[in-house]
């Protein structure tokens, strides 16, 4: 039985038995090499579910939207499961609100180039870190080299060059906020950019305001980022957002010890919500 058949069968069983109220997976898109997220409440729709190498979307964030209807079943790979763990730690959902069907990730492909997605090539955890049941067996998922290679490239540039590089990045941003909306760490009830009355960030699109948004986004998710790479994938302008996220992660690692966010529900102390009396002192 393929993973897809197993997912369909389990989704049907879970929905029929009433164990879950909604089930989240992927369905085929218009094009043969495209999928799109699918939320079903009826067991009869379970046959629409697909699982193939074009399941590029991370599903976890939908759990927040449908959790009010009852327990949510969803298919989780490494990234989805870490996103769920993230949302549980952030108290967006509770562990008992979700039923997780784990599946080993084969690595997803870009629809256009048919090559492994950048986020999948960089992924460190293909297998779910948290699930209620696992379809098939956990796969081999070697941890790729060069987690901070992109960051090192930028750091090697001279200061004016770096400045120009990021100015060109911010000049391209159209502030569609897709990076925020897809991020499992961005779960504020009201984002600061939507707080028009406070007017944290101006609505005009220019380098200064875009930088304000970009830097704030990175600082807000900094120590919680699960490195799913969705922000970079969804960006319509193809901005290198992971270069910013990973810079923070790299510094956290260097300064406060090796750390990887959201690998289990219990280890929830992120470096920026903690302190150590013996932290390095740079500001004396």
């Amino acid at each position: 039985m393929t993973a897809q058949d197993a997912i369909r069968q389990r989704a049907k069983e879970l929905l029929e038995s009433g164990e879950v109220a909604t089930f989240i997976g992927w369905e085929a898109g218009r094009f043969h090499n495209q999928t799109t997220p699918l939320v079903i409440t009826d067991a009869a729709d379970a046959d629409k579910l697909v699982f193939n190498e074009y399941c590029v979307n991370t599903l976890a964030k939908y759990a927040r939207d449908v959790v009010a209807r009852g327990k949510v079943g969803l298919v989780v790979r490494g990234c989805d499961s870490r996103a769920i763990v993230r949302m549980i730690i952030d108290q967006v959902i509770k562990r008992e609100d979700v039923y997780l069907i784990g599946v080993a990730c084969p690595g997803m492909k870009d629809r256009k180039t048919d090559e492994l997605l950048k986020k999948c090539a960089e992924c460190r955890h293909g297998n779910p870190v948290e699930c209620d049941e696992l379809i098939g067996e956990a796969g081999e998922w070697p941890i790729p080299e060069g987690r901070f290679a992109e960051v090192a490239e930028i750091e090697a540039m001279a200061q004016p060059e770096r400045s120009r590089y990021f100015e060109s990045v911010y000049a391209k941003c159209i502030r569609c906020y897709a990076c925020r909306d897809v991020c499992p760490c961005c779960t504020c009830r009201e984002c600061f950019v939507d707080q028009r009355r406070e007017n944290w960030v101006g609505k005009q699109n220019n380098v200064a305001e875009n930088r304000f948004y970009g830097l704030t986004r990175v600082m807000h998710i900094g120590d919680r980022c699960i490195e799913c790479g969705e922000c970079e994938r969804v960006c319509p302008m193809d901005l290198p957002l992971m270069k910013l996220n990973r810079k923070v992660i790299q510094d956290l690692n260097n300064l406060f010890g090796e750390f990887e966010s959201s690998l289990s529900i219990d280890d929830s102390v992120e470096p920026l919500i903690a302190y150590d009396l013996n932290d390095r002192e740079e500001f004396m």
Binding site: E209, L215, G222, V248, L272, E282
Partner: protein, 174 residues
């Protein structure tokens, strides 16, 4: 202290004065600045002091906004570790500011333009020395070279810029 990377010394306009904003903790540096005044210590007027309740209240967004809105450098001052009025605020600030400073430098800000210092209420001299050194470092760097606003948004220059932090003039509120 890092080496000052002066990338645009040639572009420093004549009579240009750096504008620096200092976010000072109410319980230490702000009092220290007060003491510096009481003791008639001289320090450059390029620094505008802004009081915050604790260095732990220092929102990274304040720094970006200050730079976007025309400051050439930002100084954040808080209590010495162990002396926080709220016991732990500056420990959190220390971590956050270490990360944020690196991030800003990664994006091309010269390291001297954003500095954090611990200055107690008794250290009027340290406050004066810090301000003087920050002003000199930023002066050496010249005006901030980040794009602040798109050119078409630039307003005509204000002849007398000293009142940038004035309260709203009466004729506007009336």
């Amino acid at each position: 202290m890092s080496v000052v990377e002066n990338t645009q010394a040639a572009q420093i306009p004549e009579n240009w004065e750096p504008k620096i904003i200092a976010f000072c903790c109410h319980w230490c540096t702000y009092t220290g600045a007060d003491l510096a005044g009481l003791n008639r210590m001289n320090y450059p007027a390029n620094v505008r002091v802004l009081r915050i309740p604790c260095s732990g209240r220092m929102n990274p967004q304040y720094v970006i906004e200050a730079l976007n809105k025309g400051c050439d450098g930002v100084l954040v001052c808080g209590c010495h570790p162990g002396d926080c009025h709220y016991v732990t605020g500056n420990y959190y600030a220390r971590r956050r500011m270490m990360i944020f400073k690196r991030l800003l430098e990664y994006e091309g800000l010269e390291p001297d333009r954003f500095q954090v210092r611990w200055i107690s209420g008794a250290e009027a001299g340290k406050f004066r020395d810090t301000v003087m050194s920050v002003v000199e470092q930023v002066r050496a760097l010249g005006p901030l070279n980040l794009t602040r606003e798109i050119p078409q948004f630039e307003l005509p220059p204000v002849p007398d810029d000293d009142g940038a932090f004035d309260a709203v003039p009466e004729e506007v509120t009336a």
